[in-house]
């Protein structure tokens, strides 16, 4: 399998345009720009299996975090329970549709899309499926990843938790535990994927075909 970078390849750093050659490196290594230190390429330690394993876990935890109640609040016997999606819907009820779109996209749509696309891309590279969608999804996945803000939301949960303990009893839901696990896995999964490296796989296919 293409488990490491086979050929040295010419690159121009995306932050300073310095020309340099990425040497043949082993899995788990990374390459920084000689001029400005920009991270040019980082190979995951276990090849294509790393992003696959991480993102499958992310997908599973995402499903759990969205399916179960997230937090519940208990004021004098009255219980208010929400899931992640409901919190987006409630914003919309207050005529804050734009805000609902922002929150819904950064917390639900973008992470789901990212996980699904990465799994699709890695599987099709691994099994040599030549879908016409492959290049498009590889092109879009980085842009979607930019807008996914799961890690920020964890901090927001902590803050609102402390704010609410003053007024009422806060009960941690199943989904919140999944969410904490999700954020930790997600932060690691970001380190396990390198789009430049995935593109170099596609380049190898093309040179094989010619």
């Amino acid at each position: 399998m293409n488990n490491f970078l086979k050929k040295p390849q010419l690159t121009a750093c995306h932050e300073c345009d310095a020309l340099q050659i990425i040497p043949v490196i082993q899995m788990g290594w990374k390459v920084n720009c000689v001029n400005c230190g920009h991270l040019i390429m980082r190979l995951p330690r276990h090849g294509l299996q790393s992003p696959l394993a991480f993102y499958l876990t992310v997908l599973l935890l995402l499903i759990f975090a969205n399916a179960f109640p997230f937090l519940s609040l208990n004021i004098e016997g009255r219980i208010q329970q929400i899931t992640l999606f409901e919190s987006v819907l409630i914003l919309q009820q207050y005529h804050m549709g734009m805000l609902a779109i922002v929150v819904g996209f950064t917390l639900i749509i973008a992470p789901f899309l990212e996980a699904l696309l990465v799994i699709f891309i890695v599987l099709s590279i691994y099994f040599h499926w030549h879908f016409s969608w492959l290049k498009k999804s590889l092109k879009w996945v980085g842009k979607i990843q930019f807008w996914s803000m799961l890690d920020v939301f964890l901090l927001a949960v902590l803050v609102s938790f402390v704010k609410l303990t003053d007024i009422a009893e806060v009960v941690v839901g199943t989904a919140l535990l999944c969410f904490v696990a999700l954020v930790f896995v997600y932060v690691y999964s970001l380190r396990s994927i390198d789009f430049g490296w995935l593109w170099s796989h596609l380049r190898q296919w093309e040179s094989n075909n010619q």
Binding site: T11, H14, R78, Q80, T106, A156, V159, L164
Partner: protein
Amino acid sequence: MESSSSMGIEQPMNTVKKTIYPRGIEHDLISCHCCTLVMRHSATGQFSCPRCHTALTQRKPNSIQYCWAYTLTAIIMYIPANLLPIMTVSYLGDTKSDTIMSGVIYLASHGMWPLALVIFIASVFIPLLKIGALVLLMVSVQKKSLLYKLQRTKLYRMTELVGKWSMVDVFVVALLVALVQFGEIASIQPGVGALAFSVVVIMTMLAAESFDARLIWDAKQ
């Protein structure tokens, strides 16, 4: 005496600092924005990348104009984001509007210093820092400054990294609004300030994205 001392100063400058690496723009090489494929520009005469079909340009097109537009929008929206309430809390008949700063002051006055600090850094300090950094970067690129290229690149990288963390306050509002729905006992409504603030964050993120750090290194004597 004089020559030896100047030698002593110049030698490390030459060997360590003044290493000049060949750059793509000087060798007619263009790298794809999307898939980082490097190719010879004029020879192929192609307008899109043969591998991923992204439009080929030497630098991000109109980078500085886009960046200024986004940053100015962020600066304008920063005013309502801080003046208008981000949420309205009604608790046992009392109604109180919270702006970002009043939230920080409330937390600090109730002895929750670490939390107040987190919110202050994420919602007040980081957006200002980002806007300041972007303005500095754009002005220095437009003035074709030769100074501190490496440090400015690092500043840009930091701006990019830190960007999304300002969304904390918006998410806190979303969570509180959704959770505290107890009719007349207690309820929280979102305010326009939260929307304005999320626009500030998104605009600064877009500005950082549209800025091309290679422009810093393009300045020549």
